[in-house]
Structures are given as C-alpha cells and as structure tokens.
C-alpha cells in the first residue's frame, strides 16, 4: 500500500491527471498529422507533370503542322524554357505527338497532327534531351 502511494512520475503519480496529459498530447498530434497530410498533398500537386505534358503535346503537335505547311528545306531546334524537356519522353507516331515521363509507364498525353502523305514520316521517339530537332527536306521529315 505504501509502495503504491510513493509512486511518482508523469503517468504513475496519482496526484497527476493522466487523462489531461493524454488529451493535451492528442490535441497536439491531430493538427500535426493534418499539417503533414496537407504538405504531402501540396507536394504531390507541385510534382505533378500533367500540365507540362498537356502543354508540350499541344505545342509539338501544332509545330508539326506548321513544319508540314512550310516550303523548302527546314531545320528547326525546339527548346522550351517553361518545362524541362529532358524529363520527358516524346513520341511522334501515327499522327500523334505524345509526351510521357522518362523511365515510367505513366499516362501519355497526345495531340494529333496532320501528316502529309507525300512526305513520309516513319515515326520517332526522342527522350532525355533538352532540345528536339526537326528536319524537313523536299521528300521527308525527321526528328531527333
């Protein structure tokens, strides 16, 4: 009996209210957990590349149309300051300019372009480069 009365400590001291301490800890932990969840969500939004893929696919699809409409020989070097091209994989095939993430099988975003059947284009993939070079001659088109 005396030994039980002499117990001390945060959780063992009978003069202290353990429930109050637990409530205080819970009141601190819940906002911290919610803050961490919010920060994780904001981080995932920041790292999301869907908008860049949509933007690049449209930009490159319209660029293909423009290059096809040009006359004579043409060499064009595509760079983009808004997005890091080396993080993406680009595919020009079957009348679609597709953009996907490098090294992953994530969702690809594509935008159509009109191919000139008198100027055959076999299709190509470009990845890991900070620029894309379009070369058009009288009878053919190539990307690298």
């Amino acid at each position: 009996m005396n030994k039980e009365r002499n117990k001390k400590g945060v959780f063992n001291d009978k003069r202290g209210d353990v429930k109050l301490i637990l409530w205080a800890i819970i009141q601190i932990m819940i906002p911290i957990i919610i803050l961490l969840l919010l920060l994780d969500y904001i981080g995932s939004v920041n790292e999301d590349t869907l908008f860049e893929k949509i933007f690049l696919s449209r930009d490159l699809g319209l660029l293909m149309d423009t290059i096809y409409s040009g006359h004579g020989d043409l060499d064009y070097e595509y760079r983009n300051k808004q997005a890091r091209l080396e993080l993406f994989r680009f595919e020009f095939r079957e009348q679609q300019a597709k953009v996907g993430e490098l090294g992953s099988r994530s969702i690809e975003v594509g935008f159509p372009f009109g191919e000139d059947l008198d100027m055959p284009y076999p299709g190509n993939s470009v990845s890991g480069k900070s620029r894309i070079i379009f070369s058009k001659s009288k009878d053919s088109l190539s990307t690298s």
């Binding site: 908008f51 949509i54 449209r58 319209l62 149309d65 009348q95 009109g114």
Partner: protein, 177 residues
C-alpha cells in the same frame, strides 16, 4: 463526481465540434488548391488557324502552284484543282489525321465574282456535316460540342490562264473532345 463526468462529456462534445471544423478546413484548402490546378489547354482556334494556313500555303492543296519554280501563290486559287478535289480528295492526303479522322473537318466555298459560279469542296466531309449540326445548334461548349471557325478571303481564281476575282469562304470545325 458528477461534475467531473459532466466536464468530460462537455470536453468530448467540444472535441467532436473541433474535429468537424478541422475536416471542413481541410476540405476547403484541398478544394482551393484544386481550383488553381489547370488541366485543360484550349488550342482549338490556333489549331484551326494552322490548318487554314496549311491548306492555303501547301503545294498539295488548291492554291496555284508554279511547278517550274516550285512556288505556291496562296492568294490565287487553281480552279481546276479546286474542282477536282471533290473527286480526288487530295486535301485529305495533304493533312492526314488517320483513317478515321475525328479531329477536324472543313468546308471551302469558292465564289467567282465575275460569272457568279459557286463551288464547294469539303475536307473530311461526313465528319464536317455531322459536327456542323452541333455548331449550328449552338452546342459549342462541353465535351460533346464542337466549335466552328469561319474565315473569308478575297482571292483570285486562275481559270483557263486568266485571273478572275473571287471570294473564298471556309469553315473549320473542331470538336471539343
């Protein structure tokens, strides 16, 4: 003893309200962030303009082509090529979007101001007529709608080695999805 129990019950009730408030704030922050995330980029008007320029400037289109020089005159329409498009459909080979093209459709209306002759050719005719119903009915917004972009050019028509004044009206229709 009773006072302690009532205090505990009050604390529990207040905690329930606090949690509800925190969940509400959480949803508000998430919705606010999602409202600023852009996932659609509308380039349909630009796509239509590029298509029009491609049709006018392409050597495989109906613009007059000086084969000796290899030069296209975009302000001059080769009347014979324009008429032959109805049968040969070379426009669809000049801008090929696939065998089942559901990306773009266009109509070209050529009017000769000298003799009043009118001719019409289509690019992707069936799709153009199908989507034109939506455009004319006002269904231009939303995933199932389509938008039409009309342009008019004063041009010259090369007919039998003569140049005659004419007007080229064209309408490009692009679906929203």
């Amino acid at each position: 003893m009773k006072y302690k129990k009532s205090m505990a019950a009050f604390e529990m009730m207040m905690w329930f309200l606090k949690i509800l408030f925190i969940v509400g704030v959480l949803f508000a922050v998430v919705i606010l962030i999602r409202s600023f995330v852009i996932t659609t980029v509308d380039v349909s008007e630009l796509q239509a303009n590029v298509f029009v320029y491609r049709m006018l400037y392409s050597p495989n289109s109906f613009s007059y082509l000086n084969s000796g020089l290899g030069r296209v005159y975009p302000g001059i329409i080769d009347f014979e090529r324009f008429k032959s498009q109805a049968n040969e459909k070379f426009l669809e080979n000049a801008a090929f979007y696939g065998n089942n093209n559901r990306e773009i459709g266009a109509g070209f209306y050529l009017k000769n101001l000298v003799d009043g002759e009118e001719n019409t050719v289509y690019y992707n005719k069936d799709f153009f007529r199908e989507q034109k119903i939506l455009v004319d009915s006002g269904f231009t917004e939303g995933p199932g709608g389509a938008r039409g972009y009309a342009k008019e050019y004063n041009i010259l028509i090369k007919k039998n080695n003569t140049l005659e004044k004419g007007v080229l009206k064209l309408e490009v229709i692009i679906p929203n999805s």
